[in-house]
């Protein structure tokens, strides 16, 4: 079975590296990006099944990134990470095509569960 390819995007480098490592331990091919632009560059360069995207980031924000990703890769599933509880942003993200959202801090098993569902195209 081909491992899932996941891009984890957050402006906290410590978080990105840790989550990528933990996903890797669970046989998920994970890469990290610490900005919106870096994420777009990764997606342009490599193929991913799911992108986990922080809504609020300095520079290019999560909502801008999802809009561009959906323009260029309509089939790519995006899961939003919201750390500030701004329901409006999450709602906009969902309208822009996000698969689902999770509130920080997340449980790794919950994250993997939602990644698997997104990859399989099974909504909750």
């Amino acid at each position: 079975m081909t491992p899932l390819r996941v891009l984890f995007v957050d402006d906290e480098e410590e978080l990105v590296s840790t989550v990528v490592e933990r996903l890797g331990m669970r046989r998920i091919e994970a890469r990290g990006a610490t900005s919106g632009l870096a994420a777009l560059a990764e997606v342009k360069e490599k193929e991913f099944d799911v992108v986990v995207l922080d809504v609020r980031m300095p520079g290019l924000g999560g909502l801008d990134v999802i809009k561009r990703l959906k323009d260029s890769h309509p089939d790519l599933e995006v899961i939003l990470l919201s750390g500030h509880g701004a329901r409006e942003d999450v709602e906009v993200g969902l309208r822009l095509g996000a698969f689902d959202y999770l509130q920080k801090p997340v449980d790794i098993e919950d994250l993997i569960e939602i990644i698997r569902r997104a990859a399989a195209g099974v909504s909750s």
Partner: protein, 572 residues
């Protein structure tokens, strides 16, 4: 004991000295000041003006009385002097025109008197007599038989003998009837003299002075130099009585003065001496009652009293209205200010909470992931030294992260609660849903939760999620307050003013009075270590946002009852 935010606002409004509205007890002081100031500026001028007016009125009345008395006295003096002079001149003419023998002729003297009386329509002579120098009446004509009477001992005889002409006081004389005499001495050619004497009935004097213009308050009479009445007086009595009044010495000039009568009543007294006579003409006008239908002091005082009472009544009523309106307005302002203050506080806390939650969430996420990674690594190494102890520590870190997450989620919820969605909600069904969340805990602690609705309660248009949070917060509190085996009653009904009332009553520990006023304040909690102090504050904010009210009644040891009043439709 009942406490609602509005009730607290009233207390705050009345108790806050430093605020720009008055404390309760100051309204009484303000009202007293308003009454005093208004009464002073309205009643004082009235009193001053009334007494000034009365004084002016008195003065003009006095001046008028003096002018009237002066005029009357002048006229009467002139008339009386003319009357006396006329008769005296007539007698002088007669005594000069006729010889003694002619005068004493039994036919001549009666004819002369007849002619004289025919000439004087008023004040006829009563008799005429010729008296020789020894005082013996030699000839006489008249209604009495006085021929041969001797007058040499009488005062008038002495005086006329010395002066030549004399008008006597009024006296009774031989005839025993009040009369006065006019006598004139005539020198005989042969030496010696004789006197022509005429008497006039004294009534004529009274008729002469009782002129037009005499009012019921006037008293006019003649007195002689000894103060004995020569004509009857209304107040002083009949002829020959001495006047009780002190009358100053008269002169030929009219003299009028203000003084008091024998009963100490104010009068205007006028007097004048009638020339060549013993008579003083006196005119008294009483000041009491002389105002007639005009202004009297008692009437004026009654007017003043009634006016003052009316003004005071209006002032008291007006000041009461004014202070009541001011108080209501101040309370309204205080409530508004307090609400604004409260909203601002909530908004500030909301922003602060969101900021704190956001800032804490990121490191919390990293801690969570790092601890998770540590756990993953240990799991991969079965031989890891102190494996169980380290896994326990990692579990404790992850548990603490989970607790922190709860707090940050609540804080974020607090910041979020301002937005409202509307939909039709069956409140009873919603309450049952919320109670469902708490059932497990209730079962575990043997707590009975009853939900009772009424059939006439309509669905309301409101925000489902926010209402769930409201009732969840209240029910959570109730569940925390009751002991194991306690009871919580939840009810919903339609109020008379067409609102939905939801009550949550527990038989728990109750809230002490000193805390009751603070339970809706952000960060106020009695759950040491486990409460954020945001639950009821969030609840209060949401209920306000939904256009409702929340009140709480509580008694320590008996329980607490929250009542949430919601409109059927939320006003935008």
């Amino acid at each position: 004991m009942t406490h609602a935010p509005d009730a607290l606002l009233h207390e705050a409004a009345e108790g806050a000295e430093a605020r720009p509205y008055l404390a309760g007890r100051n309204y009484g002081r303000l009202r007293r000041r308003v009454v005093l100031a208004t009464a002073a500026v309205s009643i004082l001028p009235l009193v001053i003006m009334t007494f000034l007016y009365y004084d002016q009125y008195e003065r003009s009345l006095g001046a008028e009385a003096i002018a009237t008395v002066t005029r009357q006295l002048t006229n009467n003096k002139r008339a009386l002097e003319f009357f006396l002079t006329e008769r005296r001149s007539a007698l002088s003419f007669v005594v000069r025109d006729r010889s003694f023998s002619e005068l004493c002729d039994p036919e001549t003297l009666p004819r002369i008197m007849k002619n004289l009386n025919a000439s004087f329509a008023l004040g006829s002579f009563a008799d005429l007599g010729i008296i020789d120098e020894s005082g013996l009446q030699l000839c006489y004509t008249g209604v009495y038989n006085l021929k041969g009477r001797d007058y040499h001992e009488q005062d008038w005889f002495d005086r006329v003998s010395r002066r030549g002409v004399f008008i006597s006081d009024v006296f009774l004389g031989y005839r025993n009837s009040p009369h006065f005499a006019i006598a004139t001495r005539h020198e005989r050619d042969s030496g010696g003299y004789y006197i022509l004497r005429a008497t006039i009935n004294a009534d004529i004097l009274a008729e002469q002075i009782q002129t037009a213009g005499l009012t019921p308050h006037d008293d006019v009479f003649l007195v002689n130099r000894s103060g004995v009445l020569q004509t009857p007086s209304r107040r002083q009595g009949a002829v020959f009585k001495s006047v009780a009044l002190s009358i100053p010495e008269a002169t030929l000039e009219v003299h009028v003065l203000d003084q008091e009568d024998e009963r100490h009543q104010p009068i205007v007294l006028g007097l004048v001496q009638i020339a060549d006579s013993p008579f003083t003409l006196v005119w008294i006008r009483s000041r009491v009652g002389a105002e007639g239908g005009g202004v009297t002091l008692p009437r004026l005082l009654a007017f003043l009293l009634i006016s003052t009472a009316l003004i005071l009544g209006v002032i008291l009523w007006g000041s009461r209205q004014f202070v009541a309106n001011l108080r209501a307005e101040n309370l309204r302002r205080a409530e508004l200010m307090h609400k604004v203050e409260y909203s601002n506080k909530l908004a500030t806390v909301g922003r602060l909470a969101a900021g704190v939650a956001h800032e804490i969430n990121n490191p919390l996420t990293i801690i969570n992931e790092k601890a998770g990674l540590l756990k993953d690594l240990i799991d991969r190494e079965p031989e890891f030294p102190l494996r169980e102890k380290v896994l326990g520590i990692v579990g404790s870190v992850l548990g603490s992260v989970a607790r922190c997450r709860k707090v940050t989620h609540r804080l974020l919820g607090f910041a979020r609660h301002m937005d409202v969605q509307s939909e039709a909600i069956d409140v009873e069904a919603l309450l049952k849903e919320v109670v469902g969340f708490l059932e497990k805990e209730a079962e575990y602690r043997n707590i009975t939760i009853k939900v009772e609705g009424q059939s006439d309660v309509p669905a309301i248009e409101s925000d489902r999620g926010q209402l769930q949070q409201v009732f969840l917060n209240i029910l959570n509190n109730a569940e925390a307050a009751v002991k194991d085996g306690g009871h919580i009653d939840v009810g919903v009904r339609l109020t008379q003013d067409r609102r939905i009332a939801v009550f949550v009553a527990d038989d728990g520990v109750g809230i002490p009075p000193e805390n009751l006023g603070r339970i809706f304040e952000p960060f106020f909690t009695t759950k040491e270590g486990s409460g954020t102090g945001l639950g009821l504050s969030i609840t209060y904010g949401i209920v306000q946002k939904l256009g409702g009210e929340i009140t709480v009644e509580s008694e320590v040891g008996k329980g607490t009852r929250f009542t949430v009043l919601l409109p059927l439709r939320r006003e935008e």
